[in-house]
Amino acid sequence: MTAELLRVRDLAVSFATEGGTAKVLDRVNLTIGRGQIVGLVGESGCGKTTLARSILGVLPRNSAQIGSGSIVFDDADLLKVDPATLERTVRGRQISFIPQDPYGSFNPVFTIGSQIMELMKWKSPELNDRQAARSGWLPRFHGRQRYRADRQRVLEMLAAVQLPNPDAILAKYPHEVSGGQRQRLMIAMALLTEPKLIIADEPTTALDVTIQAQILKLLRQLATGRGVAVLFTTHDLGTAYEICDRITVMYAGQEMEEAPSEGFFNRPSHPYTSRLLRSLPSNDGGLVGIPGEIPSLVNPPIGCRFHPRCEYATEICCSQRPEPHDVGVDHVVRCYHPVTEKPKQAVQ
């Protein structure tokens, strides 16, 4: 058993669009250690969600295409595992998911309880691997004893995510509970199957700012307590700083820098991340943007995709993408000209 839980290497994913083929992921690397909380940070459209969905194996069937690379999870390359096995033994059971939109991610016409129990019927930790791997085409019964055990688990978990009155909530329909409660339910469902990894795709974007902090604290506390690793995508650096052990920054379909949170915020090495940190609103009221705009993914710049906006760019940046190299402990950057000076202003 390796120390790494998930290792994405050279993953390339493209989408067929009306304007042509969009190269949404360009040979992306990502590493998640066991029990680690990793923040995947980037602007909208930088490929965070595509990367998250690639790991889950639920890219849109007809438009997305995986060009190359590997996604090694627990020593098995998920891209080489057959889809049926992925569906039965990996998704939900070993890797679970917290969606961005707690409003639309519950099925509106079934009670919350019936949806949670459906999850438990197929993914309960009470099932052993052989039972879980059985074909979904055969009729299957929950079994009275297991149902009771599962329901007990569910009630305990709802209490753990601090939902009042778990019994009553299970009998309700999704539209009858608040957004914050729904996201707590999503966290509960993600933890219930005792996975090794949770993929949380911007789990707080749709919520009120006041609730965001509570939910994040809860997620961090529960995941750390159970030793579950979390891949947390966000466009908000502050949020990432609060809960992540490690940060990976993406720009236009390329990962730029991977580093432990402390190292990242104190000594950002990639020109993009450095400028990103400088562009945070500061106490003296200044706002510094990054000149230029996000490139098109159909015709992306060759080499480092940030080079048209980069003040340090040289010829080689425009022809070949830099390989990752270490600039500190566990601190990897993909740049020919990493920034060495400390930023003028650290976060918080």
Binding site: R53, L56, V58, L86, E87, R88, V90, R91, G92, R93, S96, F97, P99, D101, G104, S105, F106, N107, P108, V109, F110, T111, E118, L119, W122, K123, G136, W137, Y173, H175, E176, M189, I199
Partner: protein, 334 residues
């Protein structure tokens, strides 16, 4: 609680809707510039005889008095006397209504049991050969006229292949009438032979009616499934590894059915209208056939009775649809 309010609310609307229907039917039929009395009295009637008949049927009164009397009578179950057969219309209708209802129910049942699964398959296999074949079938289902399809079926299955009877509802007397629904009556009698005969008579007219209905159901189910399948909850269910079968046939289908159920309500109305033609072709002794003869004989009371009964059936079915909606979609009822 909200569900109860929904049911009561819909039921309260029932009476005003029926009243409106009666006023419209009555007005339209009295605006037709034909003189039913003259027709009923015959060619050789004198002016005095016609006038006497007019008084007898109350047609000498102003139209609003006639309307008032008519509504009162209908409320008591009296649709008047057929100008042609001289019998109370209620009797005529009572013997024919079950035949039409049975035919319509069977047609809807066929249309739904075939149409819903086919609609789901056509959505999950979008743009596959199966989807294209189904598209051709559904478009023809919507485009082909019922009377033409009926004759085509008769020519092929009854005349050429001889698999089914040509027309009628049963050979001989049929089962002892308990419900008036021959399929049920035959089962109640426990007579397999009659059941078989009744079913054989039922197949062609029911298939003719069911075909366009099935086409509509396929198209609406397909659209509903496609919409649901692109939703976030399906993405979530997939990400959590729910079996595909469960996602499609349980979670997606129930959402898609909300639209399909509405369509089934509307289809009922279309089937009653199509039934007039189909019953005429297959000589099916139902309301439709009665309506056709009433029209041919300018029998006011008969035509109005048909329009009102058909309307009431339609309203009742849509009342049931609204209630079913509340049962399927908790957002309406809770």
């Amino acid at each position: 609680m909200k569900f109860l309010v929904l049911v009561v609310n819909r039921c309260l609307w029932f009476l005003p809707t029926v009243l409106g229907l009666m006023v419209i039917t009555f007005t339209i039929s009295h605006l037709i510039p034909a003189d039913p009395i003259a027709a009923a009295a015959g060619e050789n009637a004198t002016a005095e005889q016609i006038a006497a008949l007019r008084v007898k049927f109350g047609l000498d009164q102003p139209i609003y008095v006639q309307l008032y009397r008519y509504v009162l009578a209908v409320a008591q179950g009296d649709f008047g006397i057929s100008l042609y057969t001289q019998r109370p219309i209620v009797f005529d209708i009572a013997t024919r209504l079950p035949a039409t209802l049975e035919l319509t129910f069977v047609a809807v049942l066929i249309a739904a049991t075939l149409g819903i699964p086919l609609g789901v398959l056509s959505a999950t296999h979008r743009n596959s050969p199966l989807d294209h074949v189904l598209r051709v079938i559904t478009v023809s289902g919507l485009a082909i006229a019922a009377f033409w399809l009926a004759i085509l079926f008769q020519l092929l299955f009854a005349m050429k292949l001889g698999w089914t009877p040509l027309q009628g509802r049963v050979d001989g007397w049929g089962p002892d009438s308990v419900t008036g629904f021959f399929l049920i009556d035959a089962v109640l009698m426990g007579d397999l032979e009659i059941l078989q005969d009744v079913a054989a008579h039922m197949i062609l007219p029911a298939a003719t009616l069911a075909f366009p209905a099935m086409a509509t159901i396929v198209r609406f189910t397909r659209a509903g499934v496609l919409e649901a399948i692109n939703s976030n909850y399906v993405m979530y269910e997939e990400a959590m590894g729910f079996p595909r079968r469960i996602i499609v046939w349980k979670y997606v289908l129930r959402n898609a059915l909300i639209g399909t159920v509405t369509q089934i309500g509307l289809i009922f109305g279309i089937l009653i209208a199509n039934g007039v033609v189909v019953e005429a072709v297959f000589d099916w002794p139902g309301l439709g056939l009665y309506a056709v003869s009433s029209i041919l004989q300018s029998d006011y009371n008969g035509i109005m009775a048909f329009a009102i009964i058909a309307g009431v059936i339609f309203i009742v079915v849509n009342l049931l649809v609204d209630i079913t909606h509340g049962l399927i979609d908790p957002r309406e009822s809770r």
